[in-house]
């Protein structure tokens, strides 16, 4: 099994890159859900972010502009969702699903002219000295800006939610919007902001896919990662720290199964393809066995429509 150990460093390095889109999208969704809004449209927002980022990078030649525009595209998609569900009081689940379908189709339409166009990959930031460390160097210190952004956002989101007053207010709205409204907080206003943040993060996740992971545009290139991100939010019981672990677990299993095949180990490839999803389902089932824990951790007003009684 020395061969497996030799592969460990590249597997871990690849795991971090594979986990990044999941992490970015899921962090955005955590904030959205903590405010009480269930946005199932992550996949659609990711795809629109991916195509927008790609299109802008192709036309302007700047990755930074592409990333910025991808986040903006995500915000616009999220605003559509927010308007429909928060102002027009539409059903959040149905609207989220519709947003996914819409985003998938819209991204395919926008992307038609860009398929087959190659662009340079988002460059890796090589931190002098750190990148050359023998084992840890390639794993931790040779990634591009968005990977580091994802890792930094774990800390930032955690800090925001649990160590700031604004985060407390957001969580309060997610737990009991009636009470928060009674105290005088703007439930709709804060939820709008939370949904927009979720959209921006999903857009960034999409941009990572089309600018760094595989620098190209292909229809449906997120391949279900948006749904995995949604599952990861529950998997992590809405805690950013656990989200990182969940994303890494999924990334690890996805990459390891490819390495296992390449090494010629005798496990059927179809089973290995299923593994990441099986692992996620397994952990979700484990967590859900304890119904109280889910109830304790899930925002109490998740998915509930807010009718101000004033």
């Amino acid at each position: 099994m020395i061969a497996v150990f030799d592969s460990l460093a590249p597997i871990l390095a690849a795991m971090i890159t594979a986990a990044t889109p999941l992490l970015l999208a899921a962090l955005g969704e955590v904030v959205t859900e903590k405010s009480g809004v269930l946005n199932l449209g992550v996949e659609g927002m990711m795809l629109v972010g991916a195509v927008s980022g790609f299109a802008v990078t192709v036309t302007t030649g700047s990755h930074a502009m592409g990333i910025l525009m991808a986040a903006c595209a995500g915000v616009v998609m999220a605003l559509i969702f927010a308007f429909l569900t928060l102002t027009l009081l539409a059903n959040q689940v149905a609207t989220g699903l519709a947003l996914t379908l819409f985003g998938t189709g819209l991204s395919a339409l926008i992307g038609q002219g860009f398929v087959g166009t190659p662009i340079p990959r988002l460059p890796e930031l090589n931190l002098p000295g750190l990148s050359d460390l023998p084992f840890i160097g390639p794993i931790l210190f040779s990634h591009d800006a968005l990977v580091y952004l994802g890792l930094a956002m774990v800390g930032a989101v955690s800090w925001f939610l649990y160590d700031t007053r604004a985060g407390l207010v957001l969580r309060a709205i997610g737990e009991s919007h009636e009470a928060a409204h009674a105290i005088g907080f703007s439930v709709l206003g804060i939820r709008y902001l939370a949904v927009m943040f979720g959209g921006a993060m999903a857009g960034l996740a999409g941009a990572y896919l089309s600018l760094a992971y595989t620098p190209m545009w292909a229809e449906n290139m997120s391949s279900g990662r948006g749904w995995i991100a949604l599952a990861l939010v529950v998997f992590a019981t809405w805690k950013p720290g656990r989200l990182l672990l969940g994303a890494w677990l999924f990334g690890f299993v996805s990459i390891a199964e490819l390495h296992v095949q390449g090494l010629g180990l005798r496990v059927p490839s179809q089973f290995l393809s299923m593994l990441p999803y099986l692992a996620t389902i397994f952990v979700l089932v484990l967590i859900s066995r304890d119904a109280t824990r889910i109830r304790l951790n899930a925002p109490a007003c998740l998915g509930k429509v807010f009718h101000p009684d004033a």
Partner: protein, 366 residues
């Protein structure tokens, strides 16, 4: 007006509408008889710039050749399975007289629709089931793999070749085997590692698979999947790659050695003509370099001249029948000889191939 009158008027209108529709349908049928409607079903997007794109180029050749006499319809991104049957049925029921279904997984859906529509002609790519109105066609992709195997054998330094494969069907397996046989002919120490991504088109997974193979030491990346992701992955690490189905040079200008490109234009125009002339018959067409159903993209200028010469000689020999991609001796993975010197595998044996030859690591997933 009372209810009775209302119902009578409604019935009258409906009747009039029905008569109108029938006559209108009749007249349009008369003019449609002049135009041959040809349908194309693609498994991926034509923007894949790969497999489905090449099929669409074939369709465009038909349009160019026959102009006003044909009307073509294409449906892309059709998943293999039940949805495919719906799409083929819709084409068959809407006046299309010739329908091309371009992926292996469309085999059973096409057969079912063909049985229900004996007046329509069906052409299924890369399959093996035929009927009176269902023909099959494919290109001998493995001929291209032989030539590429010789190039890879000469250029590899690590003696490990990475192969990003899609589904474990005989077409893909025979490609891997033909490649490996040629590879080890010029480099007996080289080995091939295969990763099955279980999809024809999934750029993220293909890229991850290519990178995993590279991390395990491969310095030439082959693929039987339709996106340029593996070529890109090889380009980034400064290694070699071979494109699939169409020229993928712009995704890997330094790494792209060549590509095995499908060319369906000749076949498609010939079949459309056969329907127009009334000479269409169900048959199996399996063309290679000789029949111009496939060709190799321009060689990377970085390939040494003697390697190019070796490759070109092999290609010519295949065209002239002097070299067969599956000529003996062939040993399977356990070292047992399954084909003696001087013999060649029959078409039927190639179509049913379900084993790896010596030099390929791992097992075929069942």
């Amino acid at each position: 007006m009372n209810r009775r009158t209302f119902h009578k008027t409604l019935a009258g209108l409906a009747g009039a509408a029905a008569v109108l529709a029938l006559t209108a349908g009749g007249t349009s049928h008369a003019s449609a008889a002049d135009k041959l409607k040809v349908g194309f079903v693609y498994v991926g997007p034509i923007s894949d710039h790969g497999y489905s794109y090449q099929h669409d180029l074939g369709r465009q050749a038909v349009v160019k050749e026959f102009g006003d006499k044909v009307e073509t319809t294409f449906v892309e991104n059709v998943p293999e399975g039940a949805d495919a049957e719906r799409v083929v049925e819709q084409l068959a029921s809407s006046g299309h007289k010739l329908i091309f279904t371009t992926s292996f997984g469309f085999m059973n859906p096409t057969l079912k629709v063909a049985q229900r529509h004996p007046e329509v002609f069906f052409e299924h790519a890369t399959g093996y089931k035929r009927s009176a109105n269902l023909a099959t066609y494919a290109a001998r992709f493995y001929e291209g793999r032989t030539v590429v195997g010789l190039i890879a054998g000469k250029l590899t330094k690590s003696n490990i070749i990475g192969y990003v494969a899609s589904h474990p069907i005989p077409e893909v397996i025979s490609g891997i085997n033909a490649f490996t046989l040629a590879l080890r002919e010029v480099n007996p120490k080289a080995e091939v590692r295969v990763i099955w991504v279980n999809s024809w088109y999934d750029p993220g997974k293909e890229a991850a698979a290519a990178k995993a193979l590279i991390d395990q030491g491969a310095d030439v990346i082959l693929q039987h999947t339709d996106s340029p992701a593996p070529v890109q992955a090889a380009e980034e690490r400064g290694l070699w790659s071979v494109g699939q189905s169409s020229d993928m040079t712009r995704f890997g200008p330094k790494s792209h050695l060549t590509a095995i490109v499908d060319d369906w234009s000749g076949y498609y125009t010939a079949r459309v003509k056969a329907v127009m002339d009334g000479t269409w018959k169900s048959q199996d067409t399996w063309g290679g370099f000789k029949d111009k159903m496939l060709y190799l993209a321009p060689y990377n200028p970085a390939i040494p001249k003697d390697v190019v010469a070796l490759a070109e000689t092999a290609r010519q020999n295949i065209i002239e029948g002097k070299r067969h991609p599956f000529q003996g001796p062939i040993k399977d993975q356990s070292g047992k000889e399954i084909l003696a010197q001087g013999k060649t595998l029959t078409d039927e044996q190639i179509l049913k191939m379900d084993y790896y030859v010596e030099g390929v690591q791992g097992q075929i997933p069942r």
